[in-house]
Amino acid sequence: MSTSPSPALLARVAALSVAIVFFQIGVVSEVPLFGVTVDLTPLLVAFVGLLGGSLLGAATGFAVGLLVDLTLLQTLGVTSLVFTLIGYWAGRLRELRDPQAALTPLLVGAAAAAAALTGYSLVEFLLGVDAPVSLELLRQIILGTIVGTIFALPMYAIVRRALGGALPEDPRRRRRRRAYTTGGLSPLTKA
């Protein structure tokens, strides 16, 4: 269930978003890897959603998308739309499934990178940009997803560290609380 994020959390998310967007534009965009450019912004949005819930994820997605579109003079609304959906989806994943596996950030990062690239393409097709589906475009989407996946774990660590104790319910703290209520032991060790 999503609750209203605290002002401290909002401030941390805002500062992190601005820092990551400028780092993306100033550094990461100019360093291609395997022929594609790494895009950290969908990872940021997905991990804010994963840690903070669907409301915070969707709002962060909208704000980060708007910032990217404004700064790069892109069509306003395209990135906001795609990122809002990514942030919301990641938040709902946390609220419904509460995944605890260590590989969860990797899978969420891969899904976010793939969703962002596919989402851009879909919206641009709908807007009538002259670029039919081609093997090259498919290659760009696949490579972009792989590169996004590579950066998912470090990005998750950065987001988690930056948001820190301001999170409404940190999964680590929840695990610790569960362990405490069962006396720190699992039923197996009791037996």
Binding site: E30, T71, L76, G77, Y88
Partner: protein, 315 residues
């Protein structure tokens, strides 16, 4: 309580999605001088100094990342370049001889080949680049006060980079030659065949030179340069002889021949570029006017003027 939370969550999502769609529709439908575009320009004016500062501060980090990539590819590039130099040396000698003839013929018409210094180049730093393959554009830190205007060509030491599409007090936006909005009249180095260089649809890093005459012979590795047409109807914004790229293959699928061109400029590593800000009254501008006022049969571009010069007719 639970229902209320669910309703609120859905309402916020719906609101943000609708807001995005409204922004998208309004922005896409309005003119470039519309309200949302103005907001975007104002925003850029505010963040441009921050972006510029961040860009300079983060340059060492960027260089470090770039160094790793460069080291990996340096060996392969060195071998390839050595082979290319061996192949190009005889062509260079032939080209120098041809250039001497070309210069002499041009002198007959009291025309000199335009040097880039006549275009008042303004050196600018690239302060932002879109990570999205759909937007082949960069932001630079020179704008209106530096004499930068819309449609000014942008080059670097490797060749043609693109053209200015929007100018602001603190910077400008440059569409790269691989952007879908670009089209450059060009010719293949060793022939007089001219065509239009556009981005290859679906392949963001490849250019396509279209509308070449059917009998055009283009071999792999030949250089493609701007034709520099200046008179209507084939207006070209670019000075003649700017390197665009190299021919990689030829397509013969229609009445016209087309060739695939690999851009000469490494568009992923743009640090510093020159904006050619030839102002009204400048030498380049005067020369453009002169060519535009040539007799009727020689109008239609510098390409035809060059052909006239080569055949020695029309004088």
């Amino acid at each position: 309580m639970y229902d209320k939370t669910v309703r609120r969550r859905r309402a916020v999502l719906g609101l943000l999605v609708v807001l995005s769609l409204l922004l998208l529709t309004a922005y896409f439908g309005e003119a470039p001088n519309g309200r949302l575009h103005a907001v975007q320009r104002d925003f850029l004016a505010v963040v441009s100094p921050i972006q510029d500062g961040a860009n300079k501060a983060l340059k060492p980090v960027r260089d470090l990342f770039g160094w790793f990539g460069d080291t990996f590819s340096a060996k392969g590039q060195r071998d390839e370049l050595r082979r290319e130099i061996d192949k190009l040396r005889p062509q260079l000698i032939a080209a120098q001889a041809k250039e001497r003839t070309y210069e002499q013929l041009l002198a007959l018409y009291h025309l000199e080949r335009l040097g880039l210094s006549d275009y008042h180049p303004v050196t600018a730093t690239v302060i932002g680049q879109s990570p999205n393959i759909w937007y082949q554009r960069v932001a630079i830190d020179k704008g209106t006060p530096d004499g930068v205007r819309v449609n000014d060509p942008v080059v670097n030491a490797e060749g043609l980079v693109g053209r200015v599409v929007a100018v602001y007090p603190d910077g400008a936006q440059v569409d790269l030659i691989t952007d879908s909005s670009m089209g450059v009249t060009a010719r293949i180095g060793t022939s007089s065949a001219t065509g239009l260089v556009v981005p290859k649809v679906g392949e963001p890093n490849v250019l396509l030179m279209r509308y070449l005459p059917p009998n055009t012979v283009a071999t792999k590795g030949e250089l493609v340069v701007t034709s520099g047409t200046v008179a209507p109807p084939d207006n070209s914004l670019y000075p003649p002889g700017l390197l665009i790229g190299q021919v990689t293959s030829t397509n013969e699928e229609s009445a016209y021949t087309s060739v695939n061109v690999r851009p000469a400029v490494d568009l992923h590593h743009l640090d510093v570029v020159d904006v050619l800000t030839s102002g009204a009254g400048g030498r380049a501008s005067r020369l453009s006017t002169l060519i535009a006022n040539l007799p009727a049969q020689s109008q239609g571009g510098a390409g035809q003027a060059e052909q006239l010069a080569a055949t020695g007719s029309g004088g």
